[in-house]
């Protein structure tokens, strides 16, 4: 560790807006207004090399959009992110975008949809190697694919099979092997274990942690499962309706959650060993992102909301070693 570590990934004011308006004719005839969906609205964070930042939140909070922004599948509407000191989005636009893409790879949620069923595993894992021109010789390619498969606990002989011959957990390991093919430094993992059973989830999480240790990989880990997040992350960002509401170290967040939404999420997890314990569920649901409430987006569900929360949107501020967007915490009310 150097004295002043330079974060490998730094996102600043990252925003993505989707135009979900009705078609032009309906807008003219039926006078329907333009509708803009602010999927991600000003998200900023840093991840240091070899660390894991987890993003958690409920469906529709924008966490997968952040993942897609970071791998260049979407261009940001506002803001951007730097990777190893370079403006990544500028790099994605350039002719040598491959150089950047090689260093950032992604693992998707559904191992049944993310592998081409008509390709052999050899072609699936070997594609990034060929595409990036890293390996051209056939024999060399085979050796390398074999090594990659072994690194995720599969056998080199598995390269001659099709995806349907594998179980869900094995397929997810093939996706990991493919993502590792270009020797990336940064892996964006979008719900990598949500589609898996618990015993298989444990296998995949253990492999991901081992690979991180061995190769000093940096992860952005997206999940809605807080127990999994607690297991894999160093930093945790909690998102609600396109914004970060709390960003803190793992221990701070789980031992002393500050934001009312974070507390609600933690309370909502069933506790395994306290059987029959009644939870106190929070009322209400995530509001429609097309028409978010004014002020703090969480205010309609928040037990601590006051007039200021209903009118003024809280900014993410550093308070007591963590970053949090909450008027009540800032004013010392909770």
């Amino acid at each position: 560790m150097t004295a002043t570590p330079q974060p490998l990934v730094r996102a600043h004011d990252l925003a993505k807006t989707f135009d979900v308006s009705a078609p032009w004719l309906n807008r003219v005839i039926e006078r329907k207004p333009r509708a803009l969906l602010h999927a991600v609205d000003g998200v900023g964070f840093e991840i240091e090399r070899g660390q894991t930042l987890a993003l958690v939140g409920e469906s529709g909070c924008g966490k997968s959009t952040v993942a897609r922004l970071l791998v260049g599948l979407y261009a940001p509407t506002r803001g951007g992110f730097t990777f190893d000191g370079q403006d990544a989005h500028a790099a994605f636009q350039q002719r040598d975008a491959r150089a950047m893409r090689r260093r950032i790879q992604m693992i998707f949620q559904d191992p049944y949809a993310s592998l081409n069923p008509r390709w052999l595993v050899e072609d699936i894992v070997g594609e990034p190697l060929r595409e990036h021109g890293l390996i051209t010789g056939k024999a060399e390619l085979k050796t390398r694919v074999g090594e990659l498969l072994q690194s995720v606990g599969l056998s080199a002989q598995d390269m001659a099979k099709y995806p349907h011959q594998f179980s869900g957990g094995q397929r997810q390991r093939i996706s990991i092997a493919r993502a590792l093919a270009t020797e990336p430094e940064f892996l964006v993992c979008d719900e990598p274990t949500s589609a898996l059973d618990v015993s298989v989830q444990a296998q995949v999480l253990n492999i991901m942690k081992r690979l991180q240790r061995e190769r000093r990989l940096t992860y952005l880990f997206i999940s809605h499962n807080l127990a999994v997040v607690r297991h894999v992350s160093d930093q945790v960002g909690v998102m609600y309706l396109g914004r970060l509401v709390e960003l803190a170290g793992k221990h701070a967040l789980f031992e002393r959650p500050r934001h009312p939404y974070t507390r609600m999420l933690l309370d909502a997890i069933p506790k395994m060993h306290d059987t029959g314990r009644a939870r106190t569920p929070v009322q209400g649901e995530v509001p429609n992102p097309l028409n978010p409430p004014p002020g703090c987006a969480f205010n309609p569900r928040c037990p601590h909301a006051n007039e200021r929360c209903r009118t003024e949107r809280p900014q993410l501020r550093s308070i007591g070693g963590i970053r949090i967007a909450c008027h009540a915490v800032e004013e010392g009310r909770i």
Partner: protein, 326 residues
């Protein structure tokens, strides 16, 4: 007397390449007002057990042997027409996806009224009054207006409340809930679980709750059955199964779940995967993955459910006469 008794249930799928045995000798019972959890990984046969009970096995699947009894009456071989009267009236069903279990072309009110009038001798006005009351009971705000809305006008959590209202419409004695919270976010999941628990308590309905989520089971159920490869591996009071699992599979499953209370660097992993139906190993189905299954008997003779501490487990380790027990 038990409300529901399942005895040696075998469900088979005849196919061109032979018959697949998807459920192999399942036995359990549910008492009136009890919540029984059925947990297992994908392919363990938990949904199939639920489908067999409500008489909705997809052909060519069929109950090959064994019995399902509701209050002592056999319901596994009833003709379609008779089963239709039991389903909905005496056994309600809640499925995983709240969008596909509602008809998008009818208002929720029409669907509720239809269900109520099919099973109960009430007129249209009374049925509608009951529909509104059901929506209120399931926590839908402004039920009088919402009753005339279509399913797409409801959010996921609200839709699942409507599905619960539908299942309760004819006041059944038993509700089979297949993954009722899996499609929902955690905060909504907590609301739905709470609702299911309280509403079944006030109405005295028993619940068979099928889920893969041990946390949901821990919080909701009185007893739990752990399934593996079409068989019950362990069954017992939920507190005992979670805190003192007797079957090595249950123990592995519990250790593999990352939990909020302790921190481990490495999760316990059960190597391998559940066997396919075409290749269920002889003896104990779990033996190739079992950390303690190195005994000859485990590989050759199938264990039945036997008392193991406060639970019952299908494992030779708990049979002192087997010679496997350490």
């Amino acid at each position: 007397m038990s409300l529901l008794e399942v005895e040696n249930l075998v469900v088979e799928f005849p196919g061109r390449r032979g018959t697949l045995r998807a459920l192999d000798g399942i036995s359990f019972s549910i008492a009136p007002g009890e919540i029984l959890g059925v947990v297992g990984e994908s392919g363990a046969g938990k949904s199939l057990t639920g489908a067999a009970i409500i008489g909705l096995l997809e052909p060519p699947g069929r109950v090959a042997s064994g019995e399902i009894r509701l209050e002592g009456q056999r319901i596994d071989h009833l003709p379609h027409e008779q089963m239709r009267h039991i389903r909905g009236r005496r056994i309600g069903a809640i499925f995983q996806d709240p969008l596909t279990s509602l008809n998008p072309l009818y208002t929720v009110g029409q669907q509720l009224v239809e269900t109520i009038q099919t099973h109960l001798p009430v007129n249209a006005a009374e049925a509608r009054r009951r529909a509104v009351a059901l929506l209120k009971d399931t926590g839908i705000p402004a039920a009088e207006q919402r009753v005339d809305h279509y399913p797409h006008q409801f959010s996921g959590g609200m839709r699942q409340r409507v599905v619960i209202a539908l299942a309760l419409a004819a006041e059944p004695q038993l509700i089979v809930a297949d993954e009722p919270t899996t499609a929902l976010d955690v905060s909504i999941q907590a609301q739905i679980i709470q609702l299911l628990k309280s509403i079944c308590k006030t109405r005295g309905a028993a619940v068979m709750l099928i889920t893969h989520d041990m946390g949901v089971i821990a919080e909701t159920c009185d007893r739990v059955a752990v399934m593996y490869a079409g068989r019950i591996a362990e069954i017992g009071p939920v507190h005992e199964v979670i805190n003192h699992p007797a079957h090595p599979y249950t123990a592995g499953l519990m250790a593999a779940i990352p939990d909020m209370e302790s921190e481990r660097d490495e999760l316990y992993q059960i190597d391998g995967a559940m066997p396919r139906l075409t290749a269920i190993p002889p003896g104990c189905a779990f033996n190739p993955r079992c950390p303690r299954g190195f005994h000859e008997r485990c590989r050759t003779v199938r264990p039945e459910l036997i008392p193991a501490g406060a639970t019952r487990a299908a494992c030779w380790l708990h049979d002192p006469a087997s010679g496997v027990a350490a």
